[in-house]
């Protein structure tokens, strides 16, 4: 079993690596800037090893049972209104496996970044100047996520939750000199903040109702205490707290209607997108709900909300992915859709299944993004319309992306198949769900999303890798290029080894993580349903009918993609006006961005609310401030009239004053 100090080091080592890069390397050791990446990899890798030890320990013992440490206390402990704030590590199988995924994926992504960021690091400040900054953000991002995962206390979790938001902001806006990147970073920060507002309201509601906890002798902010107390809580408390936390989770995990930030977050460096989409940031929302699942379980309303939002998002985002031309945007919509899958699984009462999908998704989505980065390394554009035929000179990238795509589409026996199948089986049976009707509904939504997923991922693969080469960056019209791409040219070569190696490692996981981690039968050292049992959950029974249906649906999606984009035997153009309307709707992302930015922000806020607050600020706030200044100046001016400089006038004042005091004194007697 891991000692507690070592568990703290899981957070501490990446933190140390990040601080070392920015506080020592960056200012003092210019010649060593190029090794900032190695520092980050070492820190994250050490955390990964510790996490693996933690997983190993959790297999035997379950909860590590570290005692929390007192942070501060308010009021008298034990009294009605007194409470104590604690910090600590909550290391149970769930957080252990999550920590391993986070640190492992982060390490692989940082290895890939060694190669990918190389070409990006020559700028006006000289060679390697972006290296320390990049790897500092990466390490601190990872440390924040690990802190979130291991938090004992809801407040502690919230602090790290916000830190994850901060570092995602810094990483998405890494190329801050590009207006699009700066705007995307701001958007990610603000949209997730809207969700976090709900999170905070949930915490406040919990705090207001802390009497229900103190009556049980429990601390309302400690996660294990919340899970213990959940069955005893009154229904309103459980529902509102759960919905508040879900608002935060929906913001972080880009669920409808707070999904708009994720596609824009593609402006960051590709490995950053990979990390955000695979293990950190977006996984935080799913993790939060899984972490506090005991609370969600107590409220049918919360469970149904989670299931329906998840199911709807799965279809909604997949539909937008059908029409996107930017390879990273397709993958971004895919992530939103897959996260919808995970919420759907949570909503129908299967946190273990949701975590299993998160586990598998981390590998194949990370792989797909790194593949996109590898492609960009060669053709210097993300627009699939200018790709094609890349498999001829990037065989490794092509094959690994194909494996990732098949896994995402859910083709037997790759990783994605197993977790998707478990989700569908759970939803179909509805045995754990709060409402079997909702469960059935989301089953059909999930099936529709599975079809679209298979279609868009193969559209991506065919458009990017098959067919004839359409010129890469060299054929992109100059007005469409972003400034940094302007001076690049296509280099028809495979990526260097540091980029291929992570792809190959992830491809192995994308094939095997589903089958090995949660297999149906004993596999030598790995017992059957290892993953589910680790999370103390019974895996849903394998249902051959559902497995066949989902496979057929996925194959149908792939087949349609091949017919439309590969052989071109089927075309949508014949469908006429309806098709054009649908296509426009999808390209415009259901006008959600337009709704938010034009209607709500520009019209309602700029021309409405902000005018009022502007008026209030100018008139009332500034007015009060001006009044204070005016009063001081003019009362001073009036009093200054008394200062004549004539000594006799002063003498009169002194005499009168003395006389008044004297008279007053005499009258007192």
């Amino acid at each position: 079993m891991l000692p507690e100090a070592a568990a703290w080091l899981i957070i501490g080592l990446p933190l140390l690596a990040g601080v070392f890069s920015i506080a020592v390397l960056r200012p003092w050791r210019r010649s060593l800037w190029r090794y900032a990446g190695h520092v980050g990899i070492a820190g994250t890798g050490a955390a990964f090893v510790l996490s693996l030890i933690a997983v190993n320990g959790a297999m035997g013992n379950g909860d590590a049972g570290y005692e929390p440490h007192a942070w501060f206390a308010v009021g008298a402990l034990g009294a009605q209104d007194g409470f104590e704030m604690t910090v600590g590590i909550f290391l149970d199988p769930l957080s252990a496996i999550m920590a391993a995924v986070v640190s492992g994926v982060s390490m692989v992504v940082q290895v890939f970044s060694l190669g990918y960021m190389r070409k990006e690091s020559d700028d006006a400040n000289g060679e390697w100047s972006d290296y320390p900054r990049y790897f500092t953000y990466m390490s601190l991002f990872t440390a924040s996520m690990l802190g979130l995962v291991l938090a004992y206390n809801l407040i502690q979790l919230f602090v790290f939750w916000e830190l994850v938001g901060l570092f995602s902001y810094l990483l998405i806006g890494f190329w801050y000199h590009r207006p699009a990147a700066a705007a995307a970073a701001k958007k990610a920060f603000i949209v997730t903040r809207i969700g976090d507002f709900g999170f905070m309201l949930g915490i406040l509601y919990l705090f207001l109702n802390r009497g229900e906890f103190t009556a049980l002798g429990l601390n309302p902010f400690e996660i294990p205490a919340i899970l213990d107390a959940a069955p005893m809580l009154s229904a309103g408390v459980a529902t509102w707290v759960a919905l508040g936390l879900f608002a935060g989770a929906a913001g972080k995990s880009a669920q409808f209607p707070l999904h708009t930030w994720l596609p824009d977050a593609m402006e960051g460096p590709t490995p950053v997108s990979s990390l955000i989409h695979a293990a950190t940031m977006v996984a935080a929302g799913v993790f939060l709900v899984a972490r506090l699942f005991g609370l969600f379980e107590e409220s049918a309303a919360a469970m149904n909300t989670v299931a329906i939002i998840g199911g709807f998002t799965a279809v909604f985002a997949a539909a937008m992915g059908l029409a996107a031309n930017d390879i990273k945007r397709v993958l971004a919509f895919s992530t939103v859709s897959q996260l919808g899958y995970m919420f759907l699984a949570l909503g129908v009462g299967a946190p273990g299944v949701a975590m299993f999908h998160l586990f598998n998704h981390a590998f194949f989505k990370c792989l797909l993004f790194l593949g996109a980065g590898s492609v960009h390394h060669s053709v210097h554009t993300f627009d699939m319309r200018y790709m094609g035929g890349i498999r001829r000179w990037m065989p490794i990238t092509y094959l690994t992306t194909l494996v990732g795509g098949l896994s995402l589409a859910g083709i037997f026996p790759l990783a994605g198949f197993w977790s998707k199948d478990e989700i569908l089986t759970t939803a179909w049976s509805g045995s754990h769900a709060a409402n079997s009707g909702v469960s059935q509904l989301v089953f059909w939504l999930a099936l529709a999303a599975a079809f679209m997923t298979a279609f868009y991922v193969f559209r991506l693969i065919i458009m990017a890798f098959h067919d004839d080469f359409r010129g890469g960056i060299d054929s992109v019209p100059h007005e469409e290029r972003i400034p940094d791409e302007a001076h690049h040219h296509v280099h028809r070569h495979e990526s260097p080894l540091v980029m291929k190696l992570p792809l190959l490692v992830l491809a192995v996981f994308a094939v095997g993580s589903g089958f090995v981690a949660n297999s149906l039968v004993d596999l030598g050292p790995v017992p059957a349903h290892w993953f589910s049992h680790l999370l103390h959950e019974d895996a849903p029974k394998f249902n051959i009918a559902i497995a066949l249906t989902s496979t057929l649906v996925a194959v149908a999606g792939i087949g349609l993609a091949v017919l439309v984009y590969g052989t071109r035997t089927v075309s949508f153009d014949g469908l006429g006006r309806l098709w054009r309307f649908v296509h426009r709707l999808l390209v415009q992302r259901f006008y959600m961005d337009a709704l938010y930015e034009d209607l709500i922000v520009r019209r309602a806020l700029y021309r409405g609310l902000f005018l009022v607050s502007d008026w209030f600020d100018r008139r009332i706030v500034d007015g009060v401030a001006d009044l204070a200044g005016w009063l001081g100046r003019n009362s001073g001016r009036a009093i200054a009239q008394l200062q004549t400089g004539h000594i006799q006038v002063y003498g009169v004042g002194v005499s009168m004053g003395a006389a008044v005091i004297l008279i007053f004194y005499l009258m007192q007697r």
Partner: protein
């Protein structure tokens, strides 16, 4: 008797104060200040004469022989001395001002304002 002397002292003091506050000519102001000093001197001597307890006033081996302890009177002499010095200094200042600023009117001297 003390009351009458104090009333005289107060009247003198107020006349002096009035002079200080109202006269424009600096020498007149100085003279008024002298008047205020002397009002104080009257009060000092009167207090000394009438309020110092008899025990302190009677001393020495000859009982019945009155010996006055002249504290107030001594202080009055001091005041006269200081007033004389003050007048000397004040007149010197007035002459210096008259030479430098060409005025002896106190209302012309308002540079304190700046």
């Amino acid at each position: 008797m003390l009351e009458r002397l104090l009333i005289i002292s107060a009247i003198l003091f107020c006349i002096g104060l009035y002079g200080v506050l109202s006269r424009r000519h600096m020498i007149a102001v100085l003279m008024s200040v002298e008047l205020m000093f002397n009002a104080v001197n009257v009060a000092l001597v009167a207090f000394s004469r009438y309020t110092v307890p008899a025990v302190n006033r009677l001393s020495g081996s000859h009982v019945g022989m009155e010996r006055f302890v002249l504290e107030g009177q001594t202080l009055a002499v001091f005041v006269i001395v200081v007033a004389a010095a003050e007048v000397a200094l004040g007149l010197a200042l007035i002459i210096a001002l008259a030479r430098r600023r060409d005025t002896v009117h106190i209302s012309d001297l308002n540079t304190l304002r700046r």
